[in-house]
């Protein structure tokens, strides 16, 4: 029992409520929001320390015993993800000060941002499958508002599609939970795991596993359920895009990781094989999209899909080593995607366009932006010693070890093509003839560069200091690979 678990959810929630009343005072709401997210980061660090020192932490809400009430569980994986989420949210919030515009700020932007963090941190922390659905809904509802806030034509048009897709996936989620409940008669994730292990995962549970894959795959944008992502993510302004790209899809990926290791490890020949095949196809379609476009936002958006594929391939191989790689890559990708989207946002603010053919020679006036983009691009592709390398190395190595030659080979090839797709932005946008742009004078570049700088520095440290971070990632992966640790911590028998 440890109330610390609740704080990364509770602080943003209370702040969100306070911010609703502060909407007229833009400056106050900015700083309240930033300070609250900073304290969330601080609390997440404390939580991480606690989990590192004392193992898995649990909290039974309302003091109801484990299988009956809602339990919050913080193992190493969820502590790390909550920490990463808080850092990214803080960076995006700082960026929003000068990027989101006063109109949106007056209409509860910061409040909704906090609600989004409530949903995401909650989804990472909960140990109850229906509570996961509730936190998903909190997150989705905030994302609907963030997506449509501003009310431009493109935003309205894309929101309609985004909401429709998510309503269908939420209904499927409830249906799946209902089926699961009727089979195992419990909602506590640790308890579900023991019950499924007792009956040995007959056919009906494999069907439920596939339903979960569809539900979380829709959120996480795997093939063939990624179709909504490029359009919807293109519409909102940069800070929102960075939050969505870095966090929302990763919640889906996390849920697949959790359910497939905790609930359904008994029939990997079917479920994990399917996950592996879908992951590899996801990588391929993501790459095709990333190479095809000359629009800098689109290129990075398709790179989200590639990363989801790489992580899920690691999950599908399902050894401790591959899971370590997947978690390492997951955290790396959250950081670096947020950084890349924010950097691309700076480029768009300077030039007023996202069409790569209209941009060139930026490095002359903005060397810092240029070098940061280069670093982020190299990290994304996984060039050693930057942060993408270790995760990819582990995933590929374990892939070859498990004789998944095709999959591991495609992950390997994808790195080159990812590098090409982002280098295309660097070469065409930053090199070449220097141009002047209309809005250039007004762009608050030095302020906007603070947040991506924070994220790039963290990501570089994460890569260079991989030796230091590795034990924690390994611990997270071991908890995933041996569900009994998780179950014992929750059920305390």
């Amino acid at each position: 029992m440890n109330n610390l678990l609740l704080l990364p959810i509770l602080i943003p929630l209370l702040t969100a409520v306070i911010l609703i009343f502060l909407n007229r005072f833009t400056i106050a709401s900015r700083w309240v929001s930033a300070l609250s997210l900073l304290s969330t980061v601080f609390v997440s660090v404390l939580l991480f320390q606690k989990v590192r020192a004392d193992g898995i932490q649990t909290l039974n809400l309302g003091n109801w015993e484990a299988p009956f009430g809602i339990t919050l569980v913080s193992d190493m994986l969820s502590a790390l993800l909550v920490l990463t989420t808080s850092v990214i949210a803080f960076a995006c919030c700082l960026y929003s000060f000068r990027a989101i515009g006063e109109e949106r700020e007056k209409f509860y932007y910061y409040s909704i941002l906090q609600f989004l963090i409530v949903g995401i941190n909650g989804a990472f922390t909960t140990g109850d499958i229906f509570n996961l659905f509730v936190f998903f809904e909190v997150m989705l509802m905030s994302s609907y508002v963030l997506l449509v806030l501003g009310g431009t034509k493109a935003q309205l048009r894309e929101s309609v599609k985004y909401i429709l897709v998510n309503i269908i996936s939420s209904s499927l989620f409830v249906i799946t939970v209902a089926y699961l409940y009727s089979v195992v008669g419990t909602l506590n994730m640790a308890h579900i795991s023991t019950r499924i292990a007792e009956v040995g995962q007959p056919g009906i549970l494999t069907v439920i596993a596939i339903l979960f894959l569809i539900v979380f795959g829709l959120k996480g944008a795997i093939f063939p359920l990624y179709f909504w992502l490029p359009g919807s993510y293109y519409a909102p302004p940069t800070p929102v895009l960075a939050l969505f790209g870095a966090l929302l899809t990763k919640v889906g990926v996390y849920s697949i990781m959790r359910t497939y290791t905790l609930f359904f490890p008994h029939d990997p020949g079917y479920t994990h094989e399917l996950l592996g095949v879908l992951a590899v196809i996801t990588i391929i379609v993501g790459i095709i999209g990333a190479l095809a476009y000359w629009d800098i936002k689109k290129i990075i958006i398709y790179n989200i899909i590639v990363a989801v594929g790489v992580i899920l391939f690691g999950v599908s191989v399902n050894t401790t080593e591959s899971l370590t790689g997947a978690i390492f890559y997951l955290i790396h990708d959250m950081l670096i995607k947020a950084a890349l989207f924010l950097l691309v946002g700076v480029v768009i603010t300077i030039t007023g366009t996202s069409n790569l053919k209209k941009i060139s020679g930026l490095i002359k006036n903005y060397p810092l932006l240029g070098w940061m983009f280069l670093l982020a691009a190299l990290a994304l592709a996984g060039i050693p010693p930057l942060s993408g390398f270790v995760g990819k190395l582990l995933i590929i190595k374990s892939g070859f070890g498990a004789e998944a030659y095709w999959g591991a080979g495609i992950v390997l090839m994808s790195s080159l093509l990812v590098l090409f797709s982002v280098m295309k932005i660097f070469i065409n946008g930053f090199w070449g003839i220097h141009r002047t742009y209309e809005k250039e004078e007004k762009a608050p570049v030095s302020w906007l560069l603070i947040s991506p700088a924070i994220l790039v520095i963290i990501s570089v440290l994460y890569g260079v200091g991989a030796e230091l971070v590795y034990p924690y990632i390994l611990e997270a992966a071991e908890t995933l690979a041996n569900p009994s640790t998780y179950i014992n911590a929750v059920m305390k028998e």
């Binding site: 493109a154 269908i168 249906i175």
Partner: protein, 113 residues
């Protein structure tokens, strides 16, 4: 009884799917409403249908009803209600701004169309 409910839920899902595949945005929203109704009925059925007593401590009944699916439905109804009302407002706003509720004309991903 469960078999009958299975058919009812199936028919509701069928109608919901049909409505969601139509071009008019309003029909699509009604379809999502039906979809969530079907989901709630399904949750109720999955808990087992029987004439039991209320699950209160101290009641000496032969069998109790499972209260959990009902709690789940209550939560899901509230969420579905919120989402549907948001969707309706959004549809109205989109209609005002874009001048159409035909999904065929809401295609495309370009910003300045």
């Amino acid at each position: 009884m469960e078999i009958v409910m299975a058919f009812v839920v199936g028919i509701i899902f069928m109608a919901a799917t049909y409505l969601m595949l139509s071009k008019s945005l309003l029909r699509i929203i009604i379809g999502t409403g039906l979809l969530s109704h079907g989901t709630h009925l399904l949750v109720l059925t999955m808990g087992g249908l029987k004439n039991g007593a209320a699950p209160l401590l101290g009641e000496h009944a032969a069998q109790y009803n499972d209260p959990l699916p009902q709690a789940l439905i209550l939560t899901a109804i509230v969420i579905a209600f919120g989402v549907t009302s948001f969707f309706l407002v959004l549809a109205y706003r989109a209609y005002q701004e874009l001048g159409t509720d035909n999904m065929d004309r809401l295609r495309g991903t370009k910003i300045n169309e």
